[in-house]
Amino acid sequence: MDSARGGVPLGSLGGISADHWLGVEPGTGRDLFVRLLYGARISLLVALGATAVQILVGVAAGLAAALGNRFAGQLIGRLTDVMIALPMLVLGIALTAVVPADFPRTLLLILVIGLLSWGGTARMVRAQTQALQGLDFVAAARLSGNGTLRIARRELLPSLAAPVITYAAIQVPANIVAEASLSFLGVGVKPPTPSWGQMLSSAQTWFRADPLYVLLPAGLLFVTVLASTVLGDAVRTALDPREGSRLRIGTGKEAAA
């Protein structure tokens, strides 16, 4: 650490050495490798948690819209449209302003991202449920005297598994980006907890002095998003309803959980 030059790491390539595999963070001298690893934990935890929240709310809202009476269906349908139309990032930023500062940030991020982006899931579940309700096995279940809730649990939910899992897998990369964006803007996790987006934000001032500090988090974020996009695509191909014989819910569940 060269304090005379404002904390630029000593040594080449941001101070790579046997002690610090990827060098140290300029200014603070924290180990970059460790911070990148912990950053991955935050990114993935928030992305997966937010996906879980948004799938839960979305499935509940979608089922309620399809199974409820006309008024409830209209209301939830409208609400879903509103949720889809609104820019998630903007509302997310705004929400972080009003939540008390001592609320755990990771949980806040999960809730904000999850609760603002369930619209797509709800719309999809609603459409699928309405299609399923016209099928014979649902009619048979209703004729044998089952209640709406029981039909939802026993007949509809299992049939909804494939499209919902596919949707969840596709949402994961989007949520990784959402977390990185919020952290980049400084409304995500608070330092010293690291997150890739937040590291990129502080790396802006170290362009010339330590290019690796920019390139490493950027590269990791890029690769993670790309990998989960490809994974989501694979899950979709595997679970495509038109290719029923290739239904492999087991693998899909691992991918989506």
Binding site: G197, Q204, R208, F222, T229
Partner: protein, 330 residues
Amino acid sequence: MTRFVLGRIGGALFVLLALSATVYLLFYVAPGDPARLACGERCNPAQVAQVREQLGLNDPVVVQYLQFLQGLFTGRDYSGGAGLVLHCDAPCLGFSYQNDQQVTGLLLERLPATLSLALGALVIWLLVGVGTGLLSALRRGGPTERLLTVLTLAGTGTPVFILGLLLLMAVCAYLQWLPFPTYVPLGEDPEQWAWNMLLPWITLGVFESAKYARLTRSSTVETLAEDHIRTFRAYGVSERAIVTRHAVRGAVAPVIALSAVDFGTMIGGAVLTESLFGIPGLGKTLIDGVRVVDLPVVVGVVLAIGTAVVLAGAVADLLYALADRRVALT
């Protein structure tokens, strides 16, 4: 037609009303003490009480919201205490005590920067995105298409600020072709304005292009399967002319519609690009408002952005119907 337009406008109004009510409740009623927040941290209890009285925070929630709506449509007065009356013209979004300015005025001041960013990006994504999409539709099955598919896949997922950061680093820090951008208003110096906006335009435009390339390609390829294209082929029209002159028409309507939506989102949603390049637009105003917990500004920006998005959605529907007459206005 009239029925369709009226229906859309009605829907848009409903969404805006719902949005304003939600935002209002969330930000003014639920957490913390808005009076203290509006007043800033250095206020003593007497001042806070005064601000609370001025903001009408002692009234019931519904009354407050109705007053807020009234302010939006007809303007309202704030009693500034000691006989002082602050008048706020319609559309009144409240008063930012920290900027010592009315929120509406503040937003109008910031709008040109956002508009110049969004317009430039629009031009780039239409050129690059549609061009790329056409090229990959023309070279179906070839290595060019595979390369373009990989590029667009990578482009749609990556956060916009990675592209921006890398561009800044390469162009400004290492190659030093351009100085680090600072925003210069168009009215002051058009040449400097364009040079300084170049990197933000490229960043946002290229980032959005990936989506448009995919859309253009899929709509073009879809049209290629239709009967009239088969007839063109039978007449011996070249593949190039078929794709670039006839099949591309299938892409016009969806591209226009999506552009309208994206443009609307960008009016407020380009928060990342604006904050990365320091462009003083609406997105930056929102982030700054959040940093200093200036609630009237945050509420104002969210409502303005929501309005832009909802209007853009309605415009997109109309444009779509106008560009593709097969979509009967239902």
